[in-house]
């Protein structure tokens, strides 16, 4: 549609142009004819005015009349009048009615003006425009007459045949040009339409388009080039689309992984703070937020120094910063008395490195090592205590032996006492070493049970005999409670004896002088139950959950003043467990303790085999 409009507009402009051109031609023609007339008029009137007056009289006048008559007919000369000094016509070459139609003022001006004059006027009655040329005739320096000539200047018609011809030719050429331009443009646009359709096809459904459908040269070449570009763009677009899908997938995976990493960081029992190179916090996990008692938005993007106000850690970080950053991880132990009283943390610093940027931040981790420290302290305490327990009887044996060897003991009775002491201390040492070995074997899982039939009353008596001496020293009464019949056990008698003696011995150890202990043996269903009930110091709520822990000893001074390694009840618990039994404890501070060991009977145990 646009092309058609352009064509119509072009035609209109052509027509207007032709009109303007015709108008200009018309004016030019008029101007030219007017000038021709002026030259002709001036020439003729001057020529006639050269004649003396006598030539317009008599016979001489005929020659002039004859000459002028040719002009009158051919060149539009309407009239030629020669008048004498008085204005009387000497020669009048014109119709009478024409002369009568000349305005008087025109005649008067021509008769009285000296020199050549040209006047234009409308002839009365006819409406014709007449150009009158007048020139005086001089003879002997005197004006003797006037020559007047009137020329008709016919109006040039706008629509003359010639002009119409010219306009028609031009219109034809204009129309031909418009048609040619229209078809030329249409022809030129055809490939563009095709390309447009191709583009649509490419954009809509990727229909295959033949790139060779255009002729070589001109627009076709351009179009071809364009189309190749479009195909390249299409390929690029498809690749980008594929990459976009790929990137979207990767983004999803990365987001998921990031979420997982954050979840992982939040789930671990470590405090983690991640900072950027300016020491602003970029990430912090839940554990650390709990430790600092802060919310995430109070911490993220804040300087580390504002959040972690801890002189020791700050000094550590500064010290590490001053050292070579890539020298690996390092750590210190720190506590937070106000935030986590009694807990110890291992604060470690490591550096985050980018692929090219070098160090891009820090990772500070806080590992709660309270239990490790506690275990370490317990282990240290245990080693110290065990060393003491081992070396004390050794020292006794060594020094007593030295006294005997140096013959510093003369008295025979005293010598016997010394030998007895050496024997007792040797037994004590042996027992302690056995306990340690048993604990060690149980821990290693290499303790072999030598099981056999064990009569429960024999076991009961053996245990009682072992502690009776110590009980008597403190004037402690041990009350025996035994059933009528004595069921047997299938057990390692020596180990079971160690287990029961540990409990019975503890009862004696931690019951004050003149105290009371009940040692009971009962049957219940398929089980034999050993019970030890004392009215001793009892066990505090704090200590109760730990009494079976290895190396654990109460901090109660009434306990610490007694010798002990913290191994007895741990060993007892393990021995009972190895025999398929259970151990229970009920205790109240200052009221006493009640230990109950449940062991399967021999029949039950054998029945299970």
């Amino acid at each position: 549609m646009k092309v058609q409009r352009i064509t119509i507009a072009t035609l209109v402009i052509f027509v207007i142009g032709i009109g303007i051109f015709a108008q200009t031609l018309h004016q030019q023609e008029q101007r030219s004819k007017s000038q021709d007339l002026q030259h002709k008029g001036n020439y003729l009137v001057s020529l006639v005015a050269l004649h003396p007056m006598e030539n317009f009289l008599g016979n001489k006048r005929d020659y002039i009349v004859k000459t002028l008559a040719e002009y009158v007919t051919s060149d539009g000369l309407i009239y030629c009048i020669v008048q004498d000094q008085t204005g009387s016509p000497l020669l009048s070459l014109a119709h009478r009615d024409v002369v009568a139609k000349i305005p008087t003022e025109v005649e008067q001006r021509s008769l009285y003006v000296n020199g050549l004059i040209q006047q234009t006027y409308k002839m009365v009655g006819t409406g014709h425009t007449i150009n009158e040329f007048a020139k005086p005739i001089f003879e002997g320096g005197q004006r003797s007459g006037t020559v007047r000539m009137g020329f008709d200047l016919p109006p040039i018609s706008m629509f003359s045949l010639e002009r119409i011809k010219l306009m028609a030719i031009m219109a034809f050429f204009a129309f031909s040009m418009a048609v040619l331009v229209y078809y030329g443009v249409t022809l030129a646009l055809r490939p563009l339409h095709a390309v447009n359709q191709n583009f649509r096809n490419i954009c809509i459904d990727s229909v295959s388009v033949s790139p060779g459908s255009f002729k070589n040269g001109g627009v076709g070449e351009i179009i071809k080039g364009l189309e190749q570009s479009v195909f390249q763009l299409k390929d690029r677009y498809e690749k980008i689309q594929a990459e976009n899908i790929d990137l979207t997938t990767k983004y999803g995976v990365i987001s998921f992984e990031k979420h997982n990493v954050f979840n992982l960081l939040d789930s671990i029992n470590y405090g983690i703070i991640v900072t950027d190179i300016q020491d602003n916090i970029t990430h912090i996990n839940s554990y650390m937020l709990n430790l600092l008692d802060k919310k995430k938005d109070e911490v993220i993007d804040h300087p580390l120094g504002d959040i972690l106000v801890h002189d020791q850690i700050t000094a550590f970080l500064l010290q590490q910063g001053a050292l070579k950053q890539s020298s690996g991880d390092s750590s210190i132990e720190a506590t937070f008395p106000e935030l986590a009283s009694g807990e110890s943390f291992l604060v470690s610093l490591s550096y985050l490195s980018g692929r090219k940027e070098g160090v891009i931040g820090k990772v500070i981790s806080f590992k709660n090592i309270t239990s490790e420290k506690s275990a370490e302290n317990a282990k240290h305490e245990f080693i110290t205590r065990i060393t003491h327990e081992l070396l004390t009887p050794l020292t006794t044996i060594n020094s007593y032996n030295e006294m005997l060897m140096d013959e510093e003991i003369d008295n025979i009775e005293m010598q016997k006492e010394f030998y007895n002491t050496i024997n007792e201390e040797t037994s004590r040492l042996t027992s302690l070493v056995k306990n340690l070995l048993n604990i060690s074997k149980i821990e290693m899982g290499s303790l072999a049970l030598h099981k056999g039939l064990v009569k429960s009353d024999w076991l009961f008596d053996d245990c009682l005999t072992t502690v009776e001496g110590a009980a008597q020293k403190k004037n402690i009464t041990i009350e025996r409670n035994l059933p009528d019949s004595f069921p047997s056990l299938f057990a390692d008698k020596e180990l079971l004896k160690v287990a029961i003696i540990n409990i019975l011995g503890n009862a004696v150890k931690y019951t004050p002088e003149d105290g009371h202990i009940q040692f009971m043996l009962t049957e219940q269903d398929d089980f034999i139950i050993f019970e030890v009930i004392d009215d001793g110091y009892g066990i505090s709520k704090k200590d109760l959950p730990h009494v079976f822990d290895k190396f654990y000893r109460s901090t109660d001074p009434r306990v610490t003043e007694q010798t002990g390694s913290g191994l007895g009840l741990a060993l007892t618990s393990e021995i009972v467990r190895l025999h398929g039994g259970e151990i229970e404890i009920n205790s109240k501070p200052d009221e006493g303790s009640h230990f109950k060991i449940r062991l399967p009977k021999e029949e039950y145990y054998l029945g299970k085999q």
């Binding site: 060393t387 003491h388 020094s399 030295e402 006294m403 510093e408 001074p557």
Partner: protein
């Protein structure tokens, strides 16, 4: 052989107390004994012994605390302290350095070793 030097033995282990008491009595020393640190400190103040032989691991007041109290008392009246210890950990070295007239003897020790320490102390005193 009898001299007027007084030895205080502090240990919760009766056999150790007994053997040290005998050894020093045989050497002519006056010997007094205590079964825990608290009782020992009281005796240091009241009996003013010239030598204090003490265990490190004891009930009520342990050997470490006893040594620190004794160190204060030595500013007024000097005396020798012999500490019977099992082992000296690296962290205890600094603490030991702060004590005056104190000798550490590791268990199991020879009685002669302790006796030499005492003799050397009194020998140096002239």
């Amino acid at each position: 052989m009898e001299n007027n030097k007084r030895v205080l033995v502090i240990d919760d282990e009766p056999h150790i107390r007994r053997v040290l008491e005998l050894k020093f009595k045989n050497q002519g020393y006056q010997v007094i004994t205590a079964t825990n640190g608290e009782e020992g400190l009281d005796l240091i103040k009241s009996q003013q012994p010239d030598v204090v032989i003490t265990d490190i691991m004891m009930p009520k007041l342990d050997g470490r605390a006893l040594c620190e109290r004794a160190n204060e008392l030595k500013k007024k009246r000097p005396f020798l302290t012999i500490v019977m210890t099992c082992r000296i950990s690296p962290t205890e070295q600094d603490w030991i350095g702060q004590l005056t007239d104190t000798v550490f003897v590791e268990k199991p020790f020879s009685l002669q070793t302790i006796l030499k320490c005492v003799d050397q102390y009194f020998g140096n005193q002239g």
